[in-house]
């Protein structure tokens, strides 16, 4: 089948071209860069909301983009089970649009932080983790100022198995030191409960998909994107 993925270009998205590069050249799937006002869901099997500073993070990170027409289109995909993926600023947009519960607050350090972290896979049934095992530890970088995940309803998240990634040590231990931003319960990424097709995470899989870019020579980000492709194939068949 001919899979097509849209990467939405919001004004001042800045990881849009990086996501396009990885999807096109590393995963070898067709991905189009689509200007936010031009996006039509019917043309695509999945949509990626990339990282960056959509609308300059003015007012609050992600909130203006959450009112873009692209989000109305994405909502149709959310409802019918096609993958809707938010990376970094994309995650912030997904919480602001209430596709996902909770909020991303200012880092505990009050500073932007760019570094490689370890992520423990907590749920391998989702649209972007189905090629992973629960307990796998992945090396991804983060780069954000507002990535401290918070929700009033942690229990519900846990009960519904909505926690996808947690910050951990290299050995998968959930420690305070391995939590780079003060996120509640070390949460780095979550999904929706209904179709597990909507995933938001702060770390950047597109920066971790080629060994040459990783300080450890890993390419764990590939599993993330290959899972999306696999999810689309399973969904269609």
């Amino acid at each position: 089948m001919n899979i097509k993925i849209a990467v939405i270009q919001f004004p001042a998205a800045n990881c849009d071209l990086d996501a396009i590069h990885v999807l096109n050249n590393v995963i070898n799937v067709q991905a189009d860069l689509v200007w936010h006002n031009h996006f039509k869901e019917s043309n695509y099997d999945a949509v990626v909301l990339p990282g960056g500073f959509s609308f300059g993070d003015y007012l609050r990170a992600g909130i203006i983009a959450a009112h873009s027409p692209a989000i109305d289109e994405a909502k149709i995909m959310l409802k019918d089970g096609r993958p809707v993926i938010g990376i970094c600023n994309g995650f912030q947009i997904l919480t602001e649009a209430q596709f996902l519960p909770g909020a991303l607050l200012r880092n505990e350090s009050l500073k932007f932080s760019c570094k490689w972290v370890n992520l423990k896979v907590e749920n391998n049934k989702t649209a972007c983790t189905n090629k992973m095992n629960v307990g796998d530890v992945l090396a991804f970088p983060i780069a954000h100022g507002e990535g401290r995940y918070y929700t009033d309803n942690l229990k519900e998240l846990e009960d519904n198995n909505q926690i996808v990634f947690r910050y951990s040590t290299e050995n998968g231990q959930l420690t305070q030191e391995s939590n780079p931003n003060g996120s509640l319960d070390n949460i780095a990424g979550i999904c929706n409960s209904e179709f597990v097709n909507c995933i938001g995470l702060m770390p950047h899989p597109e920066r971790a998909s080629e060994a040459i870019l990783s300080p450890k020579g890993t390419d764990h980000g590939k599993l993330f994107f290959e899972s999306i492709v696999e999810f689309i194939k399973r969904r269609v068949s």
Binding site: P11, A12, N14, H21, F55, G56, K111, E210, L213
Partner: protein, 748 residues
């Protein structure tokens, strides 16, 4: 300040009497208020280089003498051809004065300005590097405030625009307390076709002139004349001269500009920086040999009621001027509409060679374009400062501390310790190009996607060395910064510089500038390194205390690595491997960290440069690289050889047994050898099986190379073979000290 009497009223300008007379003679009439304002800006030191130009003529013509140089000095950025159809554009400039007054917006708009300079060469800005200077942090809340907000300003602006900050350099020294330095460098990558589609001159009459981006406001009026004066107590009142940056708009301008250039209809492109519209329009038409007819009413302003003086002189950020051929106008405007960036067609070029600005029926500006962009130069007297003889004669006192205690103090010093606190705040990964990241190498290394080529870039210079000897110090800076890219396996291809000095009207300050330029010129000619751009920032002088900053001819080098396997990194790799020191060590402790941290003196004999020896070492290193003999490389820098080795041990938690028997001139004292900052040296890691080959090659290439030790698994460095008894350093303790200095000072 000079008062000029004009028909419309009186105005204060920074021009001198002789310059005003030159303007009147050139025009054969009195200028209008707007015109005199434009001259004031365009003939300011910042825009016209009137003091520095005569000296900068020393540099060879890079465009003429190097076939891979596509654009040299005088353009907004230097551009070099790197093969495979790609080119790199890069430039470094200063934003010192605004940052000293308002560190956050001063630094942010510095980033904004340098991005525009690279963007207007038609290529995508992909990397930023920021060399900084502040007063010492310890016990100095003012320096801490400047440092904190300069870093935040760079981070917020650079991160939002999606341009990764891949490197930088910082020194803390009392001379920068009231005049901090914020130098900003940007690298752009594009195809040669992109570059050719964005000339920086309007060479065709009848084309449309489009102003795109932010609106023109009252902020930043006279920013360049402000930057062409020394800071005084009154400077706080100059805050309105600092512009406010908007990285969101900048990001939209980047995307809209690149897409507009791709249409092929753009025939001229210039950013609006210092001097605003006056500068951009006069340079576009002046350099292109055309003229322009501008309708003042079409220029969109931020507030109503702005007069032509304010509009022509405003330095509001985030603006670009496009020259577009008539048949492509609609297509270019369509691009701007898509990105929702404000824009207006403000006039057309013509063949009059005169820049005209109309306000209804009134001609408010009517100037020969060339008169604005061709300011006369000023000959400045220079004089070597009297205090230098005493400083250079200073002897290194006998240390009262042990060598071990000294090393621990050095590794924790502000100028040597880890700079992680800074680079964690910069997004240095965006763009998926960063291969050697901040803290992992002497330079930042980026891949060029779709090729097997890598860009290595580094910035720096040692201000303390330059203070004692600007000629040798500038050369030493080149040795060090070239050494940084070479340590990562790159061949240095071109240099740009940013000259930060005191008041050029003071002969001693101008002497520093003059000697630094001579040093750069001699070195670059000798090593065949083209100088493709530069920026001069004078007046970094505190008028209250009459003290100038330490001379800082900041250097940026860009190099290329062919092939992934040829990338060399800094950390030691494997236990049991050999450690070699390349290059002779001399008793050169003048301006060293050892002198400043341990003895609290600034003088002594600073490092000197022997170009022939440097050249030989570089050739030798590339011979080793070609034979795949080097596992790790780091140039020897501040603090000397032990500090270098400790930095190489940290990442992979290795240690080193060092034995310096027969490794150095026994006339040197232990402290003179261990803490010397002689430039051009490298520490490399190699395999023991290649030892004899490497030693043979060193003889063949006539290189001073000594095996100084081997790598061990314990986290310690043992040092023997010196005059004092052997001693041991705990690397875990060194790492703790190295990592904690800046956080301890900044995180209170």
């Amino acid at each position: 300040m000079t008062k000029v009497k004009l028909e419309e009223g009186d105005i204060d300008v920074d021009l001198e009497e002789s310059e005003i007379n030159w303007i009147k003679e050139t025009l054969c009439r009195d200028p209008s208020i707007t015109e005199i304002g434009m001259f004031d800006v365009m003939h300011s030191e910042h825009c016209s280089y009137k003091s520095s130009r005569p000296k900068l003529k020393l540099f060879e013509d890079a465009e003429k003498n190097y076939d891979y140089v596509l654009a040299g000095p005088g353009e907004d950025a230097g551009v070099i051809d790197i093969g495979d159809g790609y080119c790199l554009a890069f430039r470094i400039e200063s934003h010192n004065h605004p940052s000293a007054i308002e560190p956050y917006h001063g630094a942010a708009t510095g980033i904004g300005g340098i991005i525009r300079d690279v963007l207007c060469m038609g290529v995508r800005p992909i990397a930023l590097l920021d060399p900084l200077r502040f007063g010492r942090l310890k016990g100095n809340p003012h320096s801490q405030w400047l440092f904190k907000y300069v870093v935040k300003g760079i981070a917020d602006y650079g991160n939002c625009t999606g341009i990764s900050t891949i490197g930088g350099e910082v020194e803390f020294d009392d001379s920068f307390e009231s005049n901090c330095l914020v130098n900003v460098a940007c690298i752009g990558l594009g195809t040669i076709e992109d570059f050719e589609h964005a000339p920086s001159k309007a060479y065709n009459p009848g084309d449309f002139v489009i102003l795109m981006g932010g609106s023109t406001g009252r902020d930043g009026i006279h920013g360049v004349t402000f930057a062409s004066r020394t800071l005084t107590e009154m400077s706080e009142a100059d805050r309105p001269a600092v512009q406010i940056g908007d990285p969101f708009t900048k990001k939209m301008i980047i995307e809209a500009t690149l897409e507009a250039v791709k249409t092929g209809h753009v025939r001229g492109l210039k950013d609006l920086g210092g001097g605003g519209l006056s500068c951009a329009l006069s340079e576009l038409t002046g350099d292109g040999g055309t003229g322009g007819d501008i309708d003042f009413s079409k220029i969109f302003t931020r507030e109503p009621g702005m007069n032509s003086f304010e509009v022509m002189l405003s330095e509001s950020q985030e603006r670009m001027a496009f020259i577009v051929r008539p048949k492509g106008l609609e297509e270019v405007l369509e691009v701007f509409r898509k990105f929702e960036v404000p824009h207006a067609v403000i006039g057309r070029t013509d063949d009059s060679q005169v820049l005209k600005v109309r306000n209804g029926e009134n001609l408010v500006v009517n100037l020969p374009a060339i008169a604005l962009s061709d300011a006369p130069t000023v000959a400045r007297p220079e004089k070597r400062p009297d205090y230098l003889d005493d400083l250079l004669a200073q002897k290194t006192p006998k240390p009262s501390l042990s060598l071990e205690e000294i090393t621990y103090k050095l590794i924790a010093s502000e100028n040597i310790c880890s700079k992680e606190w800074i680079y964690r705040q910069y997004d240095h990964e965006v763009g998926v190009r960063s291969v050697v990241k901040c803290g992992e190498g002497d330079s930042g290394v980026l891949r060029i996607i779709g090729t097997n080529k890598f860009i290595a870039a580094s910035v720096g210079v040692n201000s303390k060395h330059c203070f004692l000897d600007p000629y040798e110090g500038a050369k030493g800076g080149l040795v060090e910064v070239c050494g940084n890219v070479i340590a990562n396996g790159a061949k240095p291809l071109a240099m740009v510089n940013c000259c930060n000095f005191g008041n050029p009207e003071v002969p001693e300050s101008f002497w520093y500038f003059s000697k630094a330029v001579e040093g750069m010129n001699d070195f670059c000619r000798s090593l065949k390194l083209p100088i493709v751009g530069g920026n001069v920032s004078f007046y970094n002088e505190d008028e209250v205390n009459k003290t100038a900053i330490k001379a800082t001819p900041m250097i940026m080098i860009v190099g290329i690595i062919e092939g992934e396997k040829n990338i060399i990194t800094l950390p030691f790799k494997d236990m049991g491997n050999d450690i070699f020191l390349i290059g002779e060590t001399k008793a050169e402790l003048g301006g060293s960290e050892y002198h400043s941290v341990i003895h609290n003196i600034e003088g002594g004999v600073p490092p000197t440069v022997d170009e022939e020896k440097i050249k030989a070492i570089w050739v030798f290193l590339f011979e080793l690289y070609n034979r795949n003999l080097v596992k790790a490389n780091h140039d020897v820098n501040k603090g000397g050889v032990i500090i270098t080795i400790a930095e190489m041990c940290f990442k992979n938690k290795l240690g080193a047994n060092l034995d310096f028997t027969n490794c150095y001139d026994k006339k040197l004292r232990d402290d003179e050898f261990l803490f010397s900052e002689t430039v051009g040296r490298f520490v490399i890691e190699t395999s023991p099986k290649d030892r004899n080959l490497i030693l043979d090659l060193a003889i063949q290439f006539k290189i001073d190379l000594k095996k100084i030790g081997m790598l061990i698994s314990r986290s310690e460095i043992t040092i023997s073979g010196i005059k004092s008894k052997q001693f041991k350093l705990d690397l875990l303790k060194m790492k703790r000290l190295y990592d904690s200095t800046i956080p301890n000072l900044m995180e209170i």
